[in-house]
Structure formats: structure tokens, C-alpha cells
């Protein structure tokens, strides 16, 4: 029984660490995503429609 309890406790700790780390790094990973964002931005100008990246 003792052994089992230990395992349960360890797994909870592991989960907590993972949870905390995810929250900590969430804003950073979001920034990284923004930096590599190449989704399209279309701009009409002089009878032409430019196909640009959002960051352009």
C-alpha cells in the first residue's frame, strides 16, 4: 500500500511540474509562432493584388 501511495504522489508531482512549465512557456511559444507566421496578407494597389506574408 505504501508503495502504491508513493507512485500516486510522484505522478501528481510530475503532472504539477508539467502544468506549471506549460503555463510558463505558453506566452513564449506564442511569440515564436508569430515570428514564423507566413499566413497570407493581400493588399490591392495599382490594379494589382499583392500576395504578402503578414509580417511583411
Amino acid at each position: 500500500m505504501k508503495k502504491n501511495k508513493k507512485i500516486i504522489n510522484f505522478s501528481k508531482r510530475k503532472f504539477n511540474i508539467y502544468f506549471l512549465l506549460s503555463i510558463l512557456f505558453l506566452p513564449i511559444s506564442k511569440n515564436n509562432l508569430n515570428q514564423t507566421d507566413n499566413s497570407i496578407k493581400k493588399i490591392k494597389y495599382n490594379n494589382l493584388v499583392w500576395q504578402l506574408n503578414k509580417k511583411d
Partner: protein, 469 residues
């Protein structure tokens, strides 16, 4: 031998009569000569075209605007090769989907075709991504009349008569007996075993339609002569700023190192996945500094930061900056067709051409999808940026830059209700009349047609030689 009059020879012993003297006709006669087979080439024009001779090509165009029929073909010895651009490339495998022959049937003749056109037998396609490939054209400088005049003059087997117009054919029991022609004001009936009609993508249909009218019952009335006419829509798709070094990095050792132009074509994947016909994008070899300035000015307005970086590179060889031209495949439509004019005739009384041509809505849709996907490729790989013409982007239409290739009208096929000639280019339900040229195309692909026409001529000459030897 170049004849001054048809009375000079006994034409009844010549086994092959070829109508027209363009690349298809000359290639055919030269190949027959190799097998010691005599042929008579009948050309309506003179050695050089004139305003008068070009007038015979006048026709009425009904529907959307395309280049005048007198502008993009030459009625002269050597035909339209007298002013062609020389762009050569075979059709792709997937272009033969609806043909009754396949690419291998024509590629057997590639070496010979390249020899005639004096080009390298090298047409590489290297994949840029799933949807696009860099492609390689070869550029022929051959003017057929200039290159082969001496050979024809000295030939024992080839007879050439100029200023002689074939108006129609006569025959019965499914056998073509005579080509009816006019030379120096005199009417001739030329008898032969085999007749090859090789007058180009308009005249082939016109002469067959007139034959059908003159000999009721001789030609199968159900044949769709003149129908499924096509061209290669040629348009300004937009502008672009491309970094050649990025393309080189993507393709590594496979990069096709053209000096100036960039040629990109669609792969079969984009055709299948987006349900479109193919096309090829082209940027000129010669850089135009005026266009450079305009594009960079616009680019600075729409993307100032990136524009500044690009502007610094403008005079570097790495940067390709200019118009993006697009040549697309066109869907064959039964109502785009050549008919005989009901009121107007040429000087010999043959009705002039009345061409019904309507741009297909699918062409502008294809153009938009091709350009958008190419734009995506450029953005995602940072190999450049492009801008699409607003009327194409909004699917309103496109401005045709001209129609230089006449395709279809006597298309190949097995079914005589939907095609005019069989896989050996013989008119359906006729024993000895063959039609040769771009009029036989079932689909046009994006490549210029002359190379394929030469391959077809070589294939037909093999067929005719087999019959005569």
C-alpha cells in the same frame, strides 16, 4: 526540284501530295525522300509573303477578341516558321489523357525532331514543390524555307510548286482521287495515292469543310470538322520579385541555369487536386529597368520594410523583377469552331473562315489558382513575392496578349462523332486522306505546338512509307 508550272511534270505518278509547305509539310517530304518516295508539295503562297497573299487569310471572328487571322500565320514557302519564336518543348504525359496515342508514341521521334529543329534534345522538368516545376525550353532558330530550300531544289524526290492553291478534294467510295488546285489561272486535278493536308490550324478545317460542301456524301457529314478549336490563352498574370538564389538553393544541382528567363510550369498534382488545367509562368530574359522601378515603387508602398531590403538588391543579378506572363491550357469546347462564311469568298470562290471563339470562364479561374499557388510558394519559401492582376484575382476576366497558336478543328480520336482523324491522322471513313498539324490536337497543354507537330510529321511519314515500300 522547284517547279515553275505544274505542266512541267506528270503529277499522276507522284504517290504523295502534300498541301502546304510549313514545318509539318517539309518534315514529311524530307522523311519520305530518305525512303526514296516522291512527293509533291503544293504551296498557295510565294517564296515571301506579301500583303496580297496575306489577304487570303482574312476571316471573321465572332465572340471574344483574338489576333486577326492575317497576323499570326504566313502564307509563304516555309509557312509560319518564317516568323516563329522557335520555342520548343514536348507535351507532358498528362496532356495525352484524352488522346488516342500517348507521349511515347511521339517521343520515339524526339532525336529526329531535334535534328530538324537544330536544338538539343534536353527538356528538363525539375520539381520545385508538389505543384510547380522549373521547366526547360529549347529555342530553334530554324526558318524552314531558308534551311531546306537548297535541299528541295536539288532533290530528285521532292517537287515543290508555289502560288498554287488547293481549294478542295474530290473522290468517291471513301477514296480521295484528286486535289483540285489553281495555278497561274489554270485549274488542275492532281491525282495521287495519298494526300496529306498540312495547311495549319485554320486552313485544314476550311479546306475539309469546303470539300464536304463541294462533294456531298464524300466526307462523313457527322465528322465534327472545325469544332473543338482551341488556342493558348496568353496573358499578363501580374508582376513579381523573385530571388533566383533561393530557387537555386531549393533545386540545388537540378536548377536549370537559364541566363535570364524563369520558366515555371504546373505539375499534374495541382491539376488533379485543384481540378484545373495546366499553365506555365514566364518572366522575360531581358530586364526592363522602367518596369523594375514601377514594381519596386509599388512594393515599397505595400510592404515598406521588405521593399527597402529588395530595393537594395535591385541591381544584383540574383533578383528577377518584372512582369509575369502566363500561357495556359484551354478547355476544348464544341462551340469554339471554324465555319465557312456564308457571304464572303476569296478570289477563287472559296468561303473565307468564320471563327467562333469565346474565352472560357475556366481559363481565368485556372490562371487565378495557378498564380495564387505560385504566390504561396514564393511567400512560404521566402523566394520572392508576386502580385496578381486585379481582374484575374476577382475572376472578372483577362486581357489576351494575342493568340499565336491555332489548335484543334480536326482532332484525333477513335469515335467519328467526336473526332475527325484516327490515331494515324487519316480522315475517318476515308482511305487515303490524312490531316497533319496542330489542328489534330485533342488538348493543347501549355507548350508551344511546333515541336509536337514535327514529331507527328515524322510519325506520319513512317506510316506512309510503310504503305508504299
Amino acid at each position: 526540284m522547284i517547279l515553275s508550272t505544274l505542266d512541267q511534270i506528270d503529277t499522276s505518278n507522284i504517290p504523295v501530295v502534300i498541301v502546304g509547305s510549313g514545318p509539318a509539310a517539309i518534315t514529311m517530304a524530307l522523311e519520305l525522300e530518305k525512303n526514296n518516295i516522291e512527293s509533291l508539295i503544293i504551296e498557295a503562297g510565294e517564296e515571301k509573303y506579301s500583303n496580297n497573299s496575306q489577304q487570303s487569310y482574312e476571316g471573321e471572328i465572332v465572340g471574344d477578341k483574338i489576333s486577326a487571322l492575317t497576323h499570326n500565320r504566313l502564307r509563304q514557302f516555309g509557312g509560319t516558321s518564317g516568323h516563329w519564336g522557335g520555342w520548343c518543348k514536348p507535351l507532358e504525359h498528362y496532356n495525352f489523357t484524352n488522346w488516342n496515342i500517348n507521349k511515347e508514341d511521339l517521343d520515339k521521334y524526339s532525336d529526329k525532331a531535334c535534328e530538324i529543329l537544330a536544338i538539343k534534345n534536353q527538356f528538363r522538368n525539375v520539381e520545385l514543390n508538389k505543384y510547380f516545376e522549373q521547366i526547360e525550353f529549347q529555342y530553334s532558330m530554324v526558318r524552314f524555307a531558308k534551311k531546306f530550300k537548297n535541299k528541295i531544289e536539288k532533290s530528285k524526290y521532292i517537287k515543290l510548286i508555289l502560288k498554287t492553291q488547293v481549294t478542295h478534294f474530290e473522290g468517291n467510295d471513301n477514296i480521295t482521287r484528286y486535289a483540285i488546285c489553281y495555278s497561274k489561272g489554270k485549274r488542275y486535278k492532281i491525282h495521287s495515292k495519298y494526300f496529306i493536308l498540312a495547311c495549319g490550324g485554320i486552313e485544314n478545317s476550311r479546306i475539309l469543310l469546303w470539300t464536304k460542301e463541294k462533294n456531298v456524301g464524300f466526307i462523313d457529314i457527322n465528322l465534327p470538322i472545325g469544332k473543338y478549336w482551341m488556342c493558348h490563352p496568353w496573358m499578363l498574370g501580374g508582376v513579381g520579385v523573385l530571388k533566383k538564389n533561393k530557387f537555386k538553393k531549393i533545386l540545388k544541382e537540378n536548377y536549370i541555369n537559364y541566363e535570364g528567363p524563369i520558366h515555371i510550369a504546373t505539375t499534374s498534382n495541382i491539376r488533379e487536386e485543384e481540378n484545373i488545367l495546366g499553365g506555365a509562368l514566364y518572366m522575360n530574359a531581358i530586364e526592363d529597368t522602367k518596369i523594375h522601378k514601377e514594381i519596386i515603387k509599388d512594393f515599397l508602398c505595400v510592404a515598406p520594410e521588405l521593399g527597402k531590403k529588395i530595393a537594395k538588391k535591385i541591381f544584383k543579378k540574383d533578383l528577377k523583377c518584372g512582369n509575369i506572363f502566363l500561357q495556359t491550357e484551354e478547355e476544348p469546347k464544341i462551340n469554339n469552331q471554324i465555319k465557312l462564311h456564308s457571304n464572303l469568298q476569296d478570289s477563287l470562290g472559296v468561303p473565307i473562315t468564320k471563327l467562333f471563339y469565346f474565352q472560357s470562364k475556366s481559363t481565368v479561374k485556372n490562371a487565378k489558382i495557378i498564380l495564387e499557388n505560385f504566390g504561396n510558394f514564393c511567400r512560404k519559401t521566402d523566394s520572392g513575392r508576386i502580385a496578381i492582376k486585379e481582374e484575374i484575382d476577382s475572376l472578372k476576366g483577362y486581357d489576351s496578349l494575342g493568340v499565336n497558336h491555332h489548335l484543334g478543328g480536326t482532332r484525333m480520336g477513335d469515335n467519328s462523332k467526336t473526332s475527325v482523324v484516327d490515331k494515324n491522322l487519316k480522315l475517318h471513313n476515308n482511305k487515303n486522306l490524312y490531316v497533319l498539324g496542330s489542328s489534330n490536337f485533342v488538348s493543347g497543354g501549355y507548350a508551344n505546338p511546333t515541336y509536337t507537330i514535327i514529331q507527328m510529321s515524322l510519325r506520319l511519314s513512317t506510316e506512309i512509307s510503310k504503305k508504299l515500300l
